[in-house]
């Protein structure tokens, strides 16, 4: 997805990526990136939490207007409300 964003940006279309894989997206060199520290699958917010989802979108829209340099990364304050061990369990080697 980051490669697509880079192509669009190089051709005059401003982009924002919302995503939860911080290392992958920054490794690739995203022009504007809103990082949501949530399990992969719900980058736009916890399911059935519309207030959180709308807040994340508002923050993403702000990035189009406030980012002044390539590689701008912003965080959100939102956290996963479920299992606190979710970071350790994804693709773990058993």
């Amino acid at each position: 997805m980051c490669l697509t964003a880079r192509h669009l940006e190089a051709n005059g279309i401003a982009t924002v990526i919302i995503g939860s894989a911080l290392d992958i997206v920054t490794h690739c060199g995203a022009p504007r990136y809103l990082f949501t520290d949530l399990p992969l699958g719900n980058p736009c917010g916890v399911p059935y939490k519309p207030d959180m989802q709308k807040d994340i979108l508002h923050r993403a829209l702000m990035l189009y207007e406030t980012a002044t340099k390539p590689g701008t990364v912003e965080n959100t304050p939102h956290q996963w409300p479920g299992n606190p061990d979710w970071r350790a369990t994804y693709a773990r080697v058993k």
Binding site: M1, D23, V25, F35, C44, P47, H58, Y90
Partner: protein, 164 residues
């Protein structure tokens, strides 16, 4: 290694590159996938506020079930809203969460509400489904140019990309 880091810093972002490499190595795939890496970053300054801009949504989910099939680019009409987007063949945390709520990964309804409230100028007539392919070359030389062509035909100013 990644699990050790997670244990030391339980609230730090997951290191997915390390985690994925360790997982596939454990499954007998010794050659790791090389994630795209770039130090130069293209950048387009927006020419007008979001409230005057036309926005397109780009997702890695698909409007059709692609399990067992070659994944490809889909360009679909924004309205009527899809009732379902398929995610099962994508890599996401199926142990922790689910994708039953479209707005958690495909926030079109929220975006249309923001158009209605004039936070966004307008929403493009189409949304775009990017296949997550092993071939970075195919993404850069085929899919991304096709999306650009579609966005230009849709008179899009800004694109919101949401990978699962």
């Amino acid at each position: 290694m990644a699990d050790q880091i997670a244990n030391i810093m339980p609230d730090s972002p997951v290191k997915y590159i390390d985690r994925t490499r360790a997982y596939y190595l454990s499954q007998g795939f010794p050659t790791p996938y090389e994630w795209a890496q770039n130090t130069d970053i293209p950048f387009t300054q927006t020419a007008k506020p979001v409230a005057k801009s036309r926005l397109a949504l780009i997702t890695t989910a698909t409007p059709v079930d692609t399990i067992g099939e070659k994944r490809q680019l889909h360009i679909r009409a924004t309205r009527p809203l899809p009732e379902k987007m398929h995610t099962n063949d994508l890599a996401w945390d199926k142990e922790t969460t689910h994708t039953d709520d479209l707005d958690s990964f495909f926030p079109m309804q929220h975006l249309l509400d923001m158009q209605h409230s004039k936070r966004i100028g307008s929403i493009a007539q189409h949304y775009y489904c990017v296949p997550t392919l092993f071939s970075q070359n195919h993404t850069c030389t085929v899919d991304a140019p096709n999306i650009l062509e579609g966005l230009r035909a849709d008179h899009v100013d800004i694109a919101l990309l949401v990978p699962l």
